[in-house]
């Protein structure tokens, strides 16, 4: 696989409207200009249903959030539909601000632990002599990374909840253990975040060439020095990218927290759900949309880190 963009025959003279990726139909034949144009028109046509669906299904809710967050809701006494910044101001104050901070804290912490734990696990799998170990762990990771939501919550309640098997076995409640808090939620989240990290980082670890390690060893580098000066700098973009992915997953999660801890840990996703079910003051009907906007802003900020990093890492590992 080449990292450079695929070279294009560039029939620029024949087809002035053709962009950099104009359809390569062979530079020698004169007719490609018309053919290319027809093909391109057809290809946009094939994508039209998807784009239309996206515009309606995704565009309209996005507009609803963007406009709703800045207008008075219809249940206000006066001036329904007029411009206001009250929703957004309210959404970053008091209990809502606490919930947002708590969400960010939980996501940042679980993503960090997931990254730090996932890397050695993935390395153990990648360097394993037994093919079966690798296959088994990767398949299991695929399953567990998708094992979020309710089943996860119930599994942990059955294990570490007040009547859970492990809790009963070791009498953990006598030692002050409770699953229904920040720590419990962290432990549960890691159950799908660590496998996600393993899946994300394994291709990058596979891309670490043996020669680099040998070159480092030939220069008398210790294992620690190899990791500190060679492997980690190369892996850093992938690691950060994985961290962002984990952060996003933890940040967006709702069902696990809703079923497991209820309201003991304030989370922004729960605040939105509460606000949507009408659990707000009169006139704050659009508060849920403002909270959603906050959530999207955080997600966008974090994702904005991810995309450039992906490109950088692709340069080394391909």
């Amino acid at each position: 696989m080449t990292t450079a963009p695929t070279p294009v025959p560039a029939p620029a003279a024949a087809d002035p409207s053709g962009g950099p990726g104009a359809v390569a139909a062979g530079p020698a034949t004169p007719p490609p200009a018309t053919r290319a144009r027809r093909l391109r028109g057809g290809s946009w046509l094939a994508a039209l249903p998807l784009l239309a669906f996206f515009a309606i299904g995704f565009g309209l809710p996005a507009i609803a959030i963007a406009t709703g967050a800045f207008t008075l809701s219809s249940d206000a006494e006066a001036g329904a539909g007029s411009f206001t910044t009250a929703n957004v101001t309210d959404s970053v104050q008091g209990a809502y601000w606490t919930a947002l901070l708590s969400s960010v804290k939980l996501s940042a912490l679980t993503a960090l632990i997931g990254t730090v734990v996932g890397l050695p696990l993935a390395q153990a799998v990648v360097t394993s002599r037994f093919r079966a170990v690798r296959e088994a762990v990767l398949t299991a990771s695929g399953v567990l990374a998708n094992f979020g939501g309710l089943p996860l919550a119930f599994a942990f309640v059955a294990t570490l909840g007040n009547a859970g098997e492990v809790t009963k076995l070791f009498h953990l409640t006598d030692h002050g253990w409770t699953l229904y808090g920040f720590t419990g939620l962290t432990i549960a989240y890691l159950y799908f975040l660590v496998p996600l990290m393993v899946l994300t980082i394994t291709p990058a670890l596979d891309g670490l060439r043996r020669q680099w390690r040998e070159a480092a060893a030939n220069n008398r580098a210790t294992t620690l020095q190899y990791w500190r000066h060679v492997a980690l700098p190369i892996l850093l973009p992938s690691l950060l990218g994985g961290y962002v992915l984990l952060f996003g997953s933890a940040f967006a999660a709702y069902a696990t927290a809703a079923a497991m801890v209820g309201a003991t840990v304030p989370l922004i996703s729960r605040s939105i759900a509460d606000a949507l079910s009408g659990n707000v003051l009169v006139g704050q009907g659009n508060l849920a949309l403002a909270l959603s906007l906050d959530m999207i802003v955080v997600a966008v900020l974090v994702m904005a880190v991810y995309l450039p990093l992906q490109r950088r890492s692709a340069r080394w590992l391909s």
Binding site: L50, F53, F58, L150, F154, A158, V166, Y191, Y254, S292
Partner: protein, 281 residues
Amino acid sequence: MAQLTPTAGSGRRPRPWRGAVLLVAGLYFLVPMAASVWFSVDDPNGGVQFDAYTGLLSAPGFTDALLLTLELAAATVVVLLVLLVPALIAARLGTARMRAVLEVVCTLPLVVPPVAFTAGLIGVLRWGPDHLMDTPFFQTIVFVQQPEFPLVLVIAYVLMSLPLAYRALDAGLRAVDVRTLVEAARSCGASWPRAVVTVVLPNLRGALLNAAFLTLALVLGEFTAASILGYQPFAVWVYSVGNSQGQMSVAVSVLSLLITWVLLLLLAAAGRERRPAPARS
């Protein structure tokens, strides 16, 4: 330069840390599974009983919820593939700009968490009674919310699974030279639909299965949008059961994990079938 470093060509050297890491991870991941299985068959009066599993079928609402979820899943997979596959194949044949546009479109839903997206959907649905009472759009908005088959959930699920399905299909398409295949088929006289259906699609079997599986897994477990919008597919039913019958909800969790596992193994088997010996170089 006097000595050859012993590490070169190693890998046979025992590494205790690897065993330790795998052991700890194995414990962390296996204990909750084992405990859940035990919890679901543990009889409070001592012994083992399988009431939680056998009682499932006769539990009130179970069949309805499961059927609704399966219908939603089928509709979502079909709609998603019908929309996405032609667009992605066309993008492979089309310009780089088109590929970029599709990539952005298919990645954007990642930025909007399901809760926020659901809030936006509810915002749109409220336009119905608020502003559109006298227009035909109102009927449309009522239609997508019908309780027997909430189309609004299909729309939501298609968009939520768009990034996953896109990545699965795109990876599959990268491995296939779509342009050459299509041009070969076309020059043999095949029509466009025939070239795509009989030549390109069979080469994408693994990717299509992968995308369908990921979508299926997402819809089967989806709770956020359904519960907030007030419908009762499977996950929401499990939640309501969990409040009264803990054992049964854990039994369902065990089953859902098993089903995911089986589906993934089937998928791996199906993918391996058409990867014969010449693939390894």
